[in-house]
């Protein structure tokens, strides 16, 4: 993949992650610490986390096209790195109560869910592209058949 296209994809992923992390933080916060009052700096947290989560996704970069097996392997590695990054953030953050097992599990679970949703959105985007290609193909074949 061209590096430029790779970066554009990462930028799209960054915005997608920011949104999903905001939703996850809101849901987890409501569930585990609904009385907490946050400052303006908290608004930047999803953006910071999304930026940090983007780093492990760099393992999927390759100048050559990866086989399905290679890609799956790299995606698993990426998920492991993502879980590590988020849990490290959790354990070093003073506002996240990592002494409670359910908080740690919810944190790890939300990473898995966001990972699955991000992949689902990418798949939906590819499906829309395929639909457009099929429309163009039908028009082409009709014109030249």
């Amino acid at each position: 993949m061209e590096f430029k296209r790779f970066l554009v994809n990462k930028l799209i992923l960054f915005f997608m992650l920011s949104t999903l992390i905001t939703v996850a933080v809101a849901l987890l916060g409501t569930a585990f610490d609904s009385q907490a009052r946050l400052g303006y700096d908290s608004l930047l947290a999803p953006v910071k986390y999304a930026g940090l989560c983007l780093l492990p996704t760099l393992v999927t970069w390759s100048r050559h096209e990866l086989s399905v097996k290679q890609l799956l392997l790299r995606k698993v590695l990426m998920l492991v790195l993502l879980e590590t990054v988020i849990l490290l953030i959790g354990y070093t953050s003073p506002v996240i109560d990592t002494d409670r097992l359910e908080v740690v599990l919810a944190l790890a679970g939300s990473v898995l869910l966001i990972f699955a949703l991000a992949n689902l959105f990418q798949w939906l985007r590819a499906s829309a592209e395929a639909k457009e290609l099929n429309r163009e193909l039908a028009r082409f074949q009709d014109q030249h058949g």
Partner: protein
């Protein structure tokens, strides 16, 4: 057999329709002749030389420096390199979809997403081939006639 030639407007699709009671050898011969008028390629299979109508080719693949021509039911080996065939068949609706593959756009039934920006082309023959992500842009342009 009655022969009818009908002149149509430029906006309409040209076609040759053979209406017959039975697909006899004579009908097959006529069909083969029409296809051969659209171009043909030499290929070998089981040490025999064949002339294959370009319109019958589904895709062309290069494997370990050897080039293979795939129709819906047979595989032939070609003496040409894939880049030579790419050049020769440009005007016959063939397009490169990966480093080692050319596809006949008229033989694609549908396209579906595959992993990581790639797509799968489902051919009318039932085969599935991968469209490499670096060739997707060229495919879009070709389909739009750019």
């Amino acid at each position: 057999m009655e022969l009818r030639i009908e002149q149509i407007g430029t906006g309409e699709r040209e076609e040759i329709l053979i209406r017959c009671h039975e697909v006899t050898d004579q009908v097959r011969e006529i069909a083969a002749f029409i296809k051969s008028r659209q171009g043909s390629l030499s290929g070998t299979a089981e040490q025999k030389q064949y002339e294959i109508a370009v319109a019958d080719l589904c895709y062309i693949e290069s494997v370990d420096g050897r080039t293979f021509l795939y129709t819906s039911n047979r595989v032939y080996e070609s003496a040409y390199r894939i880049y030579e065939l790419e050049e020769m068949l440009k005007s016959k609706h063939f397009l490169r979809i990966s480093k080692a593959m050319l596809v006949n756009l008229m033989k694609i039934q549908s396209i579906q997403p595959a992993f990581n920006g790639r797509f799968t082309a489902n051919l009318r023959s039932g085969e599935k081939i991968i469209i490499s992500r670096s060739y997707v842009k060229a495919l879009k342009a070709a389909l739009k006639g750019e």
